[in-house]
Protein backbone atom coordinates (compact mmCIF):
# COMPACT_ATOMS: atom_id res chain seq x y z
CA UNK A 1 0.00 0.00 0.00
CA UNK A 2 1.16 3.50 -0.86
CA UNK A 3 0.62 6.03 1.94
CA UNK A 4 0.72 9.82 2.06
CA UNK A 5 1.15 11.30 5.54
CA UNK A 6 0.09 14.83 6.50
CA UNK A 7 1.25 16.36 9.79
CA UNK A 8 -0.48 19.51 10.97
CA UNK A 9 1.27 20.24 14.25
CA UNK A 10 4.77 21.08 15.45
CA UNK A 11 7.09 18.95 17.56
CA UNK A 12 6.35 18.51 21.28
CA UNK A 13 3.34 20.86 21.43
CA UNK A 14 1.05 18.09 20.22
CA UNK A 15 1.41 14.35 19.89
CA UNK A 16 0.59 14.53 16.19
CA UNK A 17 4.17 14.34 14.98
CA UNK A 18 4.92 11.47 17.34
CA UNK A 19 1.88 9.46 16.29
CA UNK A 20 2.66 10.11 12.64
CA UNK A 21 6.23 8.95 13.19
CA UNK A 22 5.14 5.73 14.92
CA UNK A 23 2.60 5.01 12.16
CA UNK A 24 5.06 5.80 9.39
CA UNK A 25 7.83 3.69 10.91
CA UNK A 26 5.47 0.76 11.38
CA UNK A 27 4.19 1.04 7.82
CA UNK A 28 7.73 1.07 6.45
CA UNK A 29 8.76 -1.93 8.56
CA UNK A 30 5.78 -3.79 7.15
CA UNK A 31 7.03 -3.09 3.66
CA UNK A 32 4.54 -0.40 2.69
CA UNK A 33 5.56 2.62 0.67
CA UNK A 34 5.40 6.12 2.09
CA UNK A 35 5.00 8.34 -0.97
CA UNK A 36 5.57 11.56 0.98
CA UNK A 37 5.37 13.02 4.47
CA UNK A 38 3.96 16.54 4.17
CA UNK A 39 4.27 19.01 7.02
CA UNK A 40 1.59 21.73 7.08
CA UNK A 41 0.42 24.45 9.48
CA UNK A 42 2.70 24.36 12.55
CA UNK A 43 3.90 20.99 11.30
CA UNK A 44 6.60 22.88 9.39
CA UNK A 45 8.36 23.35 12.72
CA UNK A 46 9.29 19.67 12.62
CA UNK A 47 11.83 20.70 10.00
CA UNK A 48 14.08 22.98 12.04
CA UNK A 49 17.57 21.71 12.76
CA UNK A 50 17.94 24.01 15.76
CA UNK A 51 16.02 22.16 18.45
CA UNK A 52 17.82 21.11 21.64
CA UNK A 53 15.39 18.78 23.37
CA UNK A 54 16.24 17.37 26.79
CA UNK A 55 18.65 14.42 26.63
CA UNK A 56 16.25 12.08 28.35
CA UNK A 57 13.43 12.51 25.87
CA UNK A 58 12.96 11.78 22.20
CA UNK A 59 14.44 14.06 19.58
CA UNK A 60 11.47 14.54 17.24
CA UNK A 61 13.36 16.26 14.43
CA UNK A 62 16.28 13.84 14.53
CA UNK A 63 13.96 10.87 14.56
CA UNK A 64 12.28 12.04 11.37
CA UNK A 65 15.63 12.85 9.79
CA UNK A 66 16.98 9.37 10.63
CA UNK A 67 13.87 7.61 9.39
CA UNK A 68 14.04 9.77 6.31
CA UNK A 69 17.66 8.81 5.78
CA UNK A 70 17.10 5.10 6.33
CA UNK A 71 14.12 4.80 3.99
CA UNK A 72 14.87 7.69 1.61
CA UNK A 73 11.65 9.42 2.60
CA UNK A 74 10.43 12.60 0.95
CA UNK A 75 9.96 14.89 3.96
CA UNK A 76 8.33 18.04 2.63
CA UNK A 77 7.69 21.26 4.52
CA UNK A 78 5.06 23.54 2.95
CA UNK A 79 6.62 26.76 1.66
CA UNK A 80 3.69 29.06 2.48
CA UNK A 81 3.37 27.73 6.02
CA UNK A 82 7.15 27.78 6.42
CA UNK A 83 7.41 31.41 5.33
CA UNK A 84 4.85 32.40 7.94
CA UNK A 85 6.62 30.52 10.68
CA UNK A 86 10.24 31.14 9.76
CA UNK A 87 11.51 27.80 8.52
CA UNK A 88 14.09 28.75 5.94
CA UNK A 89 16.36 26.98 3.46
CA UNK A 90 19.03 28.54 1.22
CA UNK A 91 16.61 29.27 -1.60
CA UNK A 92 14.07 30.92 0.69
CA UNK A 93 16.78 32.92 2.47
CA UNK A 94 17.99 34.31 -0.82
CA UNK A 95 14.51 34.98 -2.22
CA UNK A 96 13.25 36.68 0.90
CA UNK A 97 16.39 38.42 2.12
CA UNK A 98 16.95 36.38 5.27
CA UNK A 99 20.38 36.27 6.89
CA UNK A 100 20.11 32.69 8.12
CA UNK A 101 18.68 29.29 7.33
CA UNK A 102 17.40 26.76 9.82
CA UNK A 103 16.02 23.80 7.94
CA UNK A 104 17.23 20.32 8.76
CA UNK A 105 18.98 19.01 5.62
CA UNK A 106 16.82 15.89 5.41
CA UNK A 107 13.69 18.01 4.85
CA UNK A 108 12.90 20.06 1.78
CA UNK A 109 10.64 23.07 1.35
CA UNK A 110 8.11 22.90 -1.45
CA UNK A 111 4.62 23.96 -2.45
CA UNK A 112 1.16 22.76 -1.51
CA UNK A 113 1.01 21.03 -4.86
CA UNK A 114 3.19 18.35 -3.29
CA UNK A 115 0.44 17.53 -0.81
CA UNK A 116 -2.19 17.33 -3.54
CA UNK A 117 0.09 15.23 -5.73
CA UNK A 118 0.71 12.89 -2.80
CA UNK A 119 -3.04 12.51 -2.28
CA UNK A 120 -3.56 11.83 -5.99
CA UNK A 121 -0.69 9.33 -6.30
CA UNK A 122 -1.13 7.48 -3.00
CA UNK A 123 -3.75 4.95 -2.00
CA UNK A 124 -4.27 6.28 1.52
CA UNK A 125 -3.87 9.76 3.01
CA UNK A 126 -3.48 9.74 6.80
CA UNK A 127 -3.71 13.14 8.53
CA UNK A 128 -2.27 13.71 11.99
CA UNK A 129 -3.33 16.95 13.67
CA UNK A 130 -5.04 18.44 16.65
Amino acid sequence: MKFAIQINEGPYQHQASDSAYMFTKEALEKGHEIFRVFFYHDGVNNGTRLTTPPQDDRNVVQRWAELGEKYELDLVVCVAAAQRRGIVDDGEAERNGKDATNIDPRFRISGLGQLIEAAVQSERLVVFGD
Binding site: Q6, Y40, G113, A119, V120, V127
Partner: protein, 136 residues
Amino acid sequence: MSEEIKKFLYLNRRAPYGTIYAWEALEVVLIGAAFDQDVSLAFFDDGVYQIVKGQDTAGIGMKNFSPTYSALGDYEVTKLYVEKESLEERGLTVDDLMPLKWEDEDEDWAEKDSIRLVSREELARIIDEQDVVFSF
Protein backbone atom coordinates in the same frame (compact mmCIF):
# COMPACT_ATOMS: atom_id res chain seq x y z
CA MET B 1 -0.15 12.58 -12.50
CA SER B 2 -2.62 9.74 -12.13
CA GLU B 3 -5.17 9.49 -14.90
CA GLU B 4 -8.01 8.48 -12.63
CA ILE B 5 -9.96 11.40 -11.18
CA LYS B 6 -10.37 11.12 -7.43
CA LYS B 7 -13.10 12.55 -5.26
CA PHE B 8 -11.43 14.90 -2.78
CA LEU B 9 -13.33 16.20 0.26
CA TYR B 10 -11.95 18.93 2.48
CA LEU B 11 -13.39 18.93 6.01
CA ASN B 12 -13.90 22.40 7.46
CA ARG B 13 -14.89 22.08 11.11
CA ARG B 14 -13.33 25.10 12.75
CA ALA B 15 -14.20 28.76 13.14
CA PRO B 16 -12.12 31.38 11.32
CA TYR B 17 -9.46 33.65 12.90
CA GLY B 18 -9.19 31.93 16.30
CA THR B 19 -6.84 29.53 14.57
CA ILE B 20 -5.25 29.45 11.11
CA TYR B 21 -6.76 26.17 10.00
CA ALA B 22 -9.66 27.73 8.06
CA TRP B 23 -7.40 29.99 6.03
CA GLU B 24 -4.61 27.50 5.39
CA ALA B 25 -7.21 24.88 4.41
CA LEU B 26 -8.53 27.31 1.81
CA GLU B 27 -5.02 27.71 0.44
CA VAL B 28 -4.86 23.95 -0.10
CA VAL B 29 -8.20 24.02 -1.92
CA LEU B 30 -7.04 26.80 -4.25
CA ILE B 31 -3.78 25.07 -5.14
CA GLY B 32 -5.59 21.75 -5.39
CA ALA B 33 -8.04 23.17 -7.93
CA ALA B 34 -5.27 23.04 -10.55
CA PHE B 35 -5.09 19.28 -10.25
CA ASP B 36 -8.49 18.63 -11.87
CA GLN B 37 -9.85 16.29 -9.24
CA ASP B 38 -13.52 16.11 -8.21
CA VAL B 39 -13.43 18.53 -5.28
CA SER B 40 -15.98 19.17 -2.54
CA LEU B 41 -15.82 21.11 0.70
CA ALA B 42 -17.79 20.23 3.83
CA PHE B 43 -18.63 22.98 6.32
CA PHE B 44 -19.93 21.60 9.58
CA ASP B 45 -19.45 21.93 13.34
CA ASP B 46 -17.83 25.36 13.80
CA GLY B 47 -16.74 25.29 10.15
CA VAL B 48 -20.07 26.86 9.18
CA TYR B 49 -18.80 30.06 10.79
CA GLN B 50 -16.13 30.34 8.09
CA ILE B 51 -18.70 31.40 5.51
CA VAL B 52 -20.83 33.73 7.59
CA LYS B 53 -21.26 37.02 5.75
CA GLY B 54 -20.21 40.44 6.93
CA GLN B 55 -16.81 39.58 8.36
CA ASP B 56 -14.88 42.75 9.32
CA THR B 57 -11.46 42.09 10.78
CA ALA B 58 -10.17 45.66 11.04
CA GLY B 59 -10.48 45.64 14.82
CA ILE B 60 -8.43 42.49 15.32
CA GLY B 61 -5.62 43.42 12.95
CA MET B 62 -5.93 40.31 10.83
CA LYS B 63 -6.53 39.92 7.14
CA ASN B 64 -10.16 39.26 6.21
CA PHE B 65 -9.86 36.22 3.98
CA SER B 66 -13.59 35.58 3.56
CA PRO B 67 -13.69 37.12 0.05
CA THR B 68 -11.59 34.17 -1.06
CA TYR B 69 -14.58 31.84 -0.62
CA SER B 70 -16.35 33.84 -3.32
CA ALA B 71 -13.52 33.02 -5.72
CA LEU B 72 -13.96 29.26 -5.35
CA GLY B 73 -16.52 29.19 -8.16
CA ASP B 74 -13.92 30.60 -10.57
CA TYR B 75 -11.61 27.76 -9.55
CA GLU B 76 -14.35 25.26 -10.45
CA VAL B 77 -14.87 24.35 -6.81
CA THR B 78 -18.64 24.38 -6.83
CA LYS B 79 -19.72 21.85 -4.23
CA LEU B 80 -19.76 23.45 -0.80
CA TYR B 81 -21.75 21.18 1.48
CA VAL B 82 -23.09 22.96 4.55
CA GLU B 83 -24.59 20.85 7.31
CA LYS B 84 -28.06 21.92 8.42
CA GLU B 85 -27.77 20.65 11.97
CA SER B 86 -24.52 22.56 12.48
CA LEU B 87 -26.25 25.76 11.36
CA GLU B 88 -29.30 25.17 13.54
CA GLU B 89 -27.24 24.36 16.63
CA ARG B 90 -25.55 27.72 16.17
CA GLY B 91 -28.71 29.69 15.58
CA LEU B 92 -27.83 30.29 11.95
CA THR B 93 -29.69 29.94 8.70
CA VAL B 94 -28.43 29.87 5.14
CA ASP B 95 -29.33 33.59 4.95
CA ASP B 96 -26.49 34.30 7.39
CA LEU B 97 -24.00 32.85 4.94
CA MET B 98 -22.21 34.49 2.04
CA PRO B 99 -24.07 33.99 -1.25
CA LEU B 100 -21.43 31.79 -2.87
CA LYS B 101 -22.06 31.14 -6.54
CA TRP B 102 -20.56 29.56 -9.60
CA GLU B 103 -21.26 30.02 -13.30
CA ASP B 104 -22.31 26.94 -15.23
CA GLU B 105 -20.78 27.17 -18.70
CA ASP B 106 -22.98 24.26 -19.80
CA GLU B 107 -26.04 26.39 -19.16
CA ASP B 108 -25.00 29.65 -20.76
CA TRP B 109 -23.04 30.73 -17.69
CA ALA B 110 -26.14 30.64 -15.51
CA GLU B 111 -25.32 31.59 -11.94
CA LYS B 112 -25.91 28.80 -9.44
CA ASP B 113 -25.51 28.34 -5.72
CA SER B 114 -22.35 26.60 -4.64
CA ILE B 115 -23.75 26.06 -1.16
CA ARG B 116 -25.59 22.76 -0.90
CA LEU B 117 -27.47 22.38 2.37
CA VAL B 118 -27.27 18.80 3.59
CA SER B 119 -28.38 16.93 6.67
CA ARG B 120 -25.93 15.24 9.02
CA GLU B 121 -26.96 11.88 7.57
CA GLU B 122 -26.45 13.08 4.00
CA LEU B 123 -23.03 14.40 4.92
CA ALA B 124 -22.09 11.01 6.38
CA ARG B 125 -22.94 9.49 2.99
CA ILE B 126 -21.02 12.17 1.14
CA ILE B 127 -17.96 11.42 3.26
CA ASP B 128 -18.42 7.73 2.49
CA GLU B 129 -18.40 8.41 -1.27
CA GLN B 130 -15.04 10.18 -1.29
CA ASP B 131 -11.65 8.77 -2.21
CA VAL B 132 -9.58 11.16 -0.12
CA VAL B 133 -10.56 13.24 2.91
CA PHE B 134 -8.42 16.13 4.17
CA SER B 135 -8.56 17.41 7.73
CA PHE B 136 -7.11 20.64 9.08
